[in-house]
């Protein structure tokens, strides 16, 4: 029994980090209405960022997270300003090709810089655990999940209480209306894309605590973020977190009971089920 509990707990902790990554995607789609097909690639930038900062200045990924967030914010902001803004009114397949092109550039750029071998952050607490009764929790996983929750809380507060946060929500609700009352919609879109990229950057940085970093992970994470966001409901922040936890647990269980290589099959099955039974997602509202 304790074994299952451990698996579920570890899946839940990983799922919170997944949730944060998906949150970034959800924020971008919910406001800008563009699906970021380079999302996993941005996550892997965050992961390599953690590896680099852990190597030379010896910075713990938890402390490196704000730096990486700032870096990815800049990338997201510039990308939206420079490229994607012109594509907002274009058909979806155009946006798709554009972002797939960007994704290819990122992932292969990383491959050229860091090579094909897996890297890791090698934190000292990497193999330590917390013991809570019968439960054994990896320290790295607990810290990562905690940091992911904290980031999510900050993001919630930003959208709820700050002026730019409210302005972004106004844009998402009614673009034309936002324009009429004098909001700089393009600027807010760029801000949103930057925030989404920062979220996924932090998620990548945290993920680097628990998995080895390879550039090939990028497309997997892109698809994973899609699955989570659709299961949770596009545009719903709480939904992304819930979807992340569900997928985290389902992956952990499938990896244990079947084969680790089959774990994402269950995520896809879950996705197909949700699309058919509740296409708006678990916590999404009907469009």
């Amino acid at each position: 029994m304790a074994v299952y509990l451990n698996i579920v707990a570890s899946g839940l902790l990983t799922g919170l980090v997944y949730g944060l990554a998906a949150l970034g995607l959800s924020v971008i789609f919910g406001v800008v209405r563009v699906v970021n097909f380079a999302h996993g690639e941005m996550m892997v930038i965050g992961m390599y960022g953690a590896v680099v900062l852990a190597g030379w200045p010896g910075l713990d990924p938890l402390l490196a997270a704000p730096l990486i967030a700032a870096f990815l914010f800049a990338i997201g902001y510039v990308l939206q300003r420079g490229l994607i803004n012109a594509f907002i009114a274009r058909p979806e397949h155009m946006q798709f090709i554009l972002l797939v092109g960007v994704a290819l550039m990122i992932v292969n750029g990383l491959l050229m810089i860091f090579g094909p071998d897996a890297r890791s952050t090698n934190v000292e607490y990497g193999f330590e655990t917390f013991e809570v009764g019968a439960l054994l929790l990896d320290k790295a996983r607990v810290y990562a999940a905690g940091a992911a929750l904290l980031t999510t809380a900050v993001l919630f507060a930003f959208f709820r209480y700050s002026r730019p946060g409210k302005a972004i929500r106004a844009c998402a609700d009614n673009q034309l209306g936002a324009r009429v009352v004098g909001l700089d919609v393009e600027g807010l879109y760029a801000l949103t894309f930057g925030l989404g990229a920062a979220c996924v950057g932090i998620a990548g940085c945290l993920m680097a605590l628990v998995v080895d970093v390879r550039s090939q992970l990028a497309p997997e994470y892109t698809l994973l973020s899609f699955i989570i966001v659709i299961i949770g409901g596009l545009g719903s922040l709480a939904g992304a977190l819930l979807g992340g936890v569900l997928i985290g647990i389902s992956e952990a269980l499938a990896g244990f009971f079947l084969l680790p290589s089959m774990k994402s099959m269950f995520s896809y099955a879950l996705l197909i089920l949700v699309l058919v039974l509740r296409p708006q997602g678990l916590l999404g509202k009907r469009a």
């Binding site: 490229l83 994704a103 550039m105 750029g109 290589s261 089959m262 099959m265 197909i272 699309l275 296409p279």
Partner: protein
């Protein structure tokens, strides 16, 4: 979006088409093995892109998982040939049926529950990925270790079993591509084609004038999937090996649709033109990257990604509509058709 093909092809167009066809027919007479293999790949992508275009270009339904039908068809025909001794000309029909059924299931699921746009595209990815992992663990067809057709160095051609020289395969794929062009033209000019265009342009309006939207969207997926299947059969017999990792890879889906998008979505010649531009471009990039001495993994793909971005930024409608205008093949005398 303009159709890029006027009601009647001007004489100039017919002459150009005839010249291109004659050139392609004559290629094996002077081309070396490398050029022939590149052209075979070009035509393969042109064919698959044409099949995808039926769904996206004609009916406006974005599929990002078209490799699912390629992979299914390849495995069906390969297994029939190796394990049951049934040749490709019979096997292709079963492959078409199975691909069409798979497409029908996805379409029915998606359209029945009102899944549209991005969501539908993601559904198609989900099915392709799901199948990829399933085949990875499907031991009967080799799992992730792959499935192979017996290979023998051939000097004679056995068209019946599709075993032969690269030249034979070149003519097979050329015939397939020409056939797809004819089929797609007939589809586009049929009643069905006009229903599709109406749905593509405005689904609500199409419904309002009495078009059974669900039925015709479903038909688009089924026909597109079935049309894709021969590409899979060709792949199986040409390359003789199949790995789920490759057959169902999302990168292959992207490859298939890229040509059509670059060439011009919804046009008849767009997918063909796009394939003829992209594949040689890829080869050129490889050569240039080798030449420049930056032979690190990823360099080629990096440049390729950059080119993709440049193309969608500067030629959003694709190259064919632009080229057709230049050549005076777009029926400009009938006024703008968009």
């Amino acid at each position: 979006m303009s159709l890029g093909w006027p009601a009647e092809l001007p004489r100039r167009g017919a002459v150009l088409l005839g010249l291109a066809g004659a050139l392609l027919l004559a290629v094996p007479a002077f081309a070396d093995a490398y050029l022939l293999s590149v052209l075979t790949l070009v035509l393969w992508l042109a064919y698959a892109g044409q099949a995808w275009n039926v769904m996206m270009g004609f009916a406006g339904q974005l599929s990002l998982g078209h490799t699912l039908y390629v992979g299914l068809a390849a495995y069906v025909s390969g297994v029939l040939f190796v394990s049951f001794g049934i040749g490709p000309w019979l096997g292709v029909w079963l492959a078409i049926v199975i691909a069409a059924i798979a497409g029908g299931c996805i379409g029915a699921l998606g359209f029945r529950f009102g899944i549209r746009g991005v969501y539908f595209a993601l559904l198609t990815i989900a099915f392709a990925e799901f199948t990829r992992i399933a085949f990875d663990h499907f031991a009967w067809v080799g799992g992730s270790a792959g499935f192979f057709l017996p290979v023998a160095q051939r000097t004679t051609n056995d068209l019946l079993d599709l075993r032969g020289t690269p030249t034979m395969f070149y003519y097979v794929i050329l015939a397939l591509t020409a056939g797809a062009l004819v089929v797609c033209r007939a589809l586009l000019k049929s009643r069905l084609g006009y229903y599709w265009l109406a749905i593509r342009e405005d689904q609500e309006a199409a419904q309002a004038v009495g078009i059974d939207v669900f039925r015709y969207k479903l038909l688009a997926v089924v026909i597109s999937a079935g049309l894709t299947a021969p590409a899979g059969v060709f792949y199986a017999f040409f390359y003789n090996n199949m790995y789920p990792e490759q057959m169902f890879a999302i990168t292959r889906s992207i490859e298939i649709i890229l040509g059509a998008i670059v060439g011009g979505i919804g046009t008849l010649f767009g997918p063909v033109l796009g394939a003829f531009i992209l594949t040689p471009l890829g080869e050129l990039v490889t050569a240039a990257v080798d030449r420049a001495g930056v032979n690190v993994p990823g360099a080629k793909q990096l440049v390729y990604g950059g080119l993709m971005v440049l193309i969608v930024v500067f030629l959003p409608d694709g190259i064919w509509p632009w080229l057709a205008r230049r050549l005076g093949l777009d029926g400009a005398d009938r006024g703008p058709s968009s």
